[in-house]
Each structure stands twice: as structure tokens, then as C-alpha cells.
């Protein structure tokens, strides 16, 4: 290898090493922010309206996309599921298939991904802009902790919204599946529900799904908050930060999903 190639390789490796260490540094930074957020949550308890306001912005305003998506996902599950099940003469298990897919996996995961895209980016952009226009600095100078006043309420708002949204997603998805399976395809309505009730276990399936959505809520909201807080105070910086929010949230959700599922299936 010539000198030029060696030095290019060296700088590529250095670059990579730098970026890797940078990621670790950012992870540490994010963990620190997480710690501060939890520690500063007293204000959110004392003034619940701050949290309620954030539940509105992250939860209520995400309802439309969540419910519409849930409906479509449920319908597709029913269609695809019926297509395969009827080959084995088990088309009456369609209720079980739709319910379990939604409650165990699709409900929490798809909700989290949609949440990251809609509410997560909104949070990142808002915090990033507040930082860029010195609003957070102004708050600090007025002896008000921006973490207690701005970050923590948004954290709790997201954490509370997510499981509610996931439950709604699963419920509406099942409804959508029902509407396709029973009136449209002609599966027996009674069998749909009774098979579902026999196979879906509250603790194993519903509770596990709920726990998953809570964990996703913490992860997605914290990532969104951190990216906004850490963003360079420029237009480009904020825009890159929102992209990072979606990417990192999605990776975190899918990774955590795998980890939690492997714990739960045992």
C-alpha cells in the first residue's frame, strides 16, 4: 500500500473512532439529562397543569394518526391472516391472530414509531428552537430551572401518553380486524371473540404489551428531549436533530422490543 492510501486509511479509522467515542459521549450526556429530569420532577408534581398541557400536545394531537393507522393495520392483519389461515382450515383463529399480533407487538411498537415521528420531532424542534432563541437561557437567568419547567413536564407527558396511545392502537386495530373478518369475509363473529378471549392472556400478553409501551414511552420521549436540548442553535442544527430523533427512537424501540420480548417469552 502506498503512503497516500495508508494515511487515508488511518484518517478513516480515526474518524470512525472519533464518531464512536462521540456516540458514547452523547449517550452519557443523555443519561445525565435523564437523571436531571427525574430529579427535577418535583415541579411537575406540584403544577400538574404543565404535564397536562404536554399530554395534550403529545397525546391528544397524535390521536388521529394513531387511530387511523391502527384501523388500517388491524384490517391488513385480518386480510393477510385469513389468506394464510384458511389454507389450514383454521380461519376461525383469525381473532386470535389479530389480537395477539397487536397486543403483544404491533400495538406498542408501531405506536412508538409513529409517536417518535409525530410527537418526538415536535418536541425536538420546540426545545431546539427554544435553545436557539435563548429562551432557555433567559429562564435560567430568571432563576427558573429550564429542566424542571420545560423538559420534565414534557417527559412525563410523553411517558403518560404512550401507553394510552398503544392501548387505543390495539383496541382500534382489533376493531378494524373484526370489521374485515366478520362482515366482510364472513368469519363467525362469536368464534372471533371467543377464540380471542381463550388465547389472549391478560398477564402474558396485555400486561407485557403495556409494559413495553411504557418503556418505549420513556425511551422515545427522552431521546426527543435530549436531541432538542443538545442541538446546535442553528436552523440546520435543529433540522438535523429532528432527523436524529426519529432515527434513534426507531432503533431504540426496535432494539428494546427484541430485548424485552426475549425476556417475556420464557
Amino acid at each position: 500500500m502506498s503512503d497516500g492510501m495508508v494515511s487515508k486509511l488511518k484518517s478513516a479509522l480515526q474518524n470512525f473512532g472519533h464518531r464512536l467515542i462521540d456516540q458514547f459521549w452523547r449517550l452519557g450526556s443523555a443519561s445525565r439529562l435523564f437523571g436531571y429530569t427525574l430529579a427535577s420532577s418535583g415541579e411537575s408534581l406540584r403544577r400538574p397543569f404543565l404535564v397536562i398541557r404536554e399530554i395534550y400536545f403529545t397525546g391528544v394531537l397524535s390521536l388521529i394518526i394513531i387511530l387511523v393507522s391502527a384501523f388500517f393495520v388491524g384490517m391488513v392483519l385480518a386480510l393477510q391472516g385469513y389468506n394464510t389461515l384458511q389454507k389450514y382450515g383454521s380461519s376461525e383463529a383469525i381473532g386470535v391472530l389479530v389480537a395477539l399480533s397487536l397486543v403483544r407487538e404491533l400495538g406498542p411498537v408501531v405506536t412508538a414509531l409513529l409517536f417518535a415521528g409525530r410527537a418526538g420531532t415536535a418536541i425536538t424542534a420546540e426545545i431546539g428552537l427554544m435553545k436557539a432563541t435563548e429562551q432557555l437561557s433567559a429562564m435560567e437567568m430568571m432563576a427558573v430551572s429550564p429542566i424542571a419547567r420545560v423538559i420534565a413536564p414534557r417527559f412525563w407527558g410523553g411517558v403518560i401518553s404512550m401507553p394510552l396511545l398503544a392501548s387505543l392502537f390495539s383496541m382500534v386495530g382489533i376493531l378494524g380486524g373484526y370489521l374485515v373478518a366478520v362482515p366482510l369475509i364472513g368469519v363467525d363473529g362469536g368464534a372471533f371473540w371467543s377464540q380471542m378471549q381463550a388465547s389472549v392472556d391478560f398477564r402474558e400478553d396485555v400486561m407485557n404489551g403495556f409494559i413495553k409501551s411504557c418503556v418505549f414511552g420513556v425511551a422515545c420521549t427522552m431521546i426527543a428531549l435530549f436531541e432538542g436540548y443538545d442541538a446546535p442553535p442553528t436552523a440546520e442544527g435543529v433540522s438535523r436533530a429532528t432527523t436524529r430523533t426519529v432515527v434513534n427512537s426507531s432503533l431504540a424501540v426496535l432494539g428494546l422490543d427484541f430485548v424485552m420480548t426475549s425476556f417475556m417469552i420464557s
Partner: protein
């Protein structure tokens, strides 16, 4: 107990090995308006942040009252900050609140006054800056000058002892500039406070401040009353005050010889 409300003692500050300030000494007497001037990037705004405790010095001390700012614990630092009001360059109003709510913010956070009293106080502060009629507008609906005046009302909401202004004249039309000058002077005298104005606007600043500090290359290169500085023969001060094109602050950014640079493209 000195007569200075803020004292900066041999302050050094910097990032990542590069020092921005290399031993700065300043004192700000009670009741006076002091300007901190210098070229862009000379670290003027950073001094305000050091006074407010948002940054920690590398060496030296910043004292407010008799307390060293960076040695204060969180609660004491918050108490210290309540004595200060800061006007940020672009206003930094909270964009999701109205004008009224912006000015009421510090009152609601730090006092337990009933809403009726808060209303009276907010009206008084807005009236002082001439924007009482704009109280229900959203912060995003204001023009630059108006936003800055509201931010000023918010900065003095709790009658601070120290009011800091970060480039208050930047980007304003002549009328607004005159208004702000007036407000700074009147508020300072009415509240008996001390005002620190960071700016590079010589004409406006010299028209109403009591004392000026000049910063360049990380140190205080000159200080005095506006009258004294107008007469100064120090090259930097002279260039700055009279707006000369070339002097200690060179016109040309460092570059190789002109002739050689131009010929380089055509050389054989």
C-alpha cells in the same frame, strides 16, 4: 462593603484550551450605567453570563454583592439571580405565551402574589415601556423593537438591583433606539439599580452611559467616562470611537502577499 455591586477580579475564561478573557478587572458602582464595549467576538456577552453564573471562570473571581458567584450552591445562586434582570439580544420572549404572560412569568414563579396584584404589576411594567395596550398580543406577533421592550419589562418585573443588556440596540430603527436609550436611563434611575450594557454602538451608548470599559484581546484596554474616551489617543480606542477603517484592528484578514497571490494562478 464596597460601593460596587459587581466586581470582576483578574478573570480568565476560555473554552478548550483557548482563553477568551486573560485577566479582566472591572467594577460596577451602584446606581450607575456602565457600558462594556469591544469588537465582535471579544467576549462581552460572555462576561454577562459569567456574572449570572451560567459559566464558571477558569481563574479569578466574579463577585456580586460580596458573594463569589461560581462558589454559590444552587439555591444561593438562584437567590442571587433573582436580584438580576437580563435583556437578551433578540428578546428571548417565551413564544407560546402572550405579552402579559411573559411579563407575569417571573412574578408567578418567584412570588406568591395573588393574580390581582400580579395584574397591577404587569400593567405598571408594561406601561413603563409603553406597551400596556399590547398586553394580549402573542409574543410571536410583535415587531423586533416591541419584543425587546416587552423583554425589558420582563427583565425588570421583580425590580432587580442589576439589569444587564446584551446588545440592546442591535438591529433597531433610530426611533426604537432612542426609546431604548431613554428606557435604560429612566428605569435605572427609577429602580436605583445598576445597569450593564454590552454593545458596540458607540454613538448611542456614549449619549447616556456613565462609564465605559473597552475589551480587546481578552483584556480591558481602556476605561473611562465617554468624554474621556472621546479624547483618548490610544490607537484602539481612537479607531473604535471614530469608526476608522484601519488601525490596530486591521482591515485585511491575514493573507499572503497580494501580488504573489494574484500571480499564482497564472504562474508557469
Amino acid at each position: 462593603m464596597t460601593d460596587n455591586i459587581v466586581e470582576i477580579d483578574n478573570l480568565s475564561f476560555g473554552y478548550k484550551g483557548r482563553l477568551l478573557h486573560k485577566g479582566i478587572n472591572m467594577s460596577f458602582p451602584r446606581g450607575k450605567i456602565v457600558a462594556i464595549m469591544g469588537g465582535s467576538g471579544s467576549g462581552k456577552t460572555t462576561i454577562l453570563r459569567l456574572i449570572g453564573g451560567q459559566l464558571k471562570p477558569v481563574k479569578g473571581e466574579v463577585r456580586v454583592g460580596d458573594k463569589v458567584v461560581h462558589e454559590q450552591g444552587r439555591n444561593d445562586l438562584q437567590k442571587l439571580r433573582r436580584k438580576m434582570g437580563m435583556l437578551f439580544q433578540m428578546g428571548a420572549l417565551f413564544t407560546d405565551l402572550s405579552v402579559y404572560e411573559n411579563v407575569a412569568f417571573p412574578m408567578r414563579e418567584h412570588t406568591s402574589l395573588p393574580e390581582t396584584m400580579i395584574r397591577d404589576l404587569v400593567m405598571m411594567k408594561l406601561n413603563a415601556v409603553g406597551l400596556r395596550g399590547a398586553r394580549d398580543l402573542m409574543a410571536t406577533e410583535l415587531s423586533g423593537g416591541m419584543a425587546r421592550r416587552v423583554a425589558l419589562a420582563r427583565a425588570v418585573a421583580l425590580d432587580p438591583e442589576i439589569i444587564m443588556y446584551d446588545e440592546p440596540f442591535a438591529g433597531l430603527d433610530p426611533i426604537s433606539m432612542g426609546v431604548i436609550c431613554n428606557l435604560i436611563r429612566n428605569l435605572n434611575d427609577a429602580l436605583g439599580a445598576t445597569s450593564l450594557v454590552v454593545t458596540h454602538d458607540v454613538k448611542e451608548a456614549f449619549s447616556f452611559v456613565d462609564y465605559v470599559y473597552f475589551i480587546a484581546d481578552g483584556v480591558v484596554v481602556a476605561e473611562g467616562t465617554p468624554a474621556e474616551l472621546r479624547e483618548s489617543t490610544l490607537p484602539f480606542v481612537h479607531q473604535f470611537v471614530h469608526g476608522e477603517v484601519d488601525g490596530p484592528v486591521p482591515f485585511h484578514y491575514a493573507a499572503p502577499d497580494y501580488r504573489r497571490d494574484m500571480l499564482r494562478g497564472h504562474d508557469v
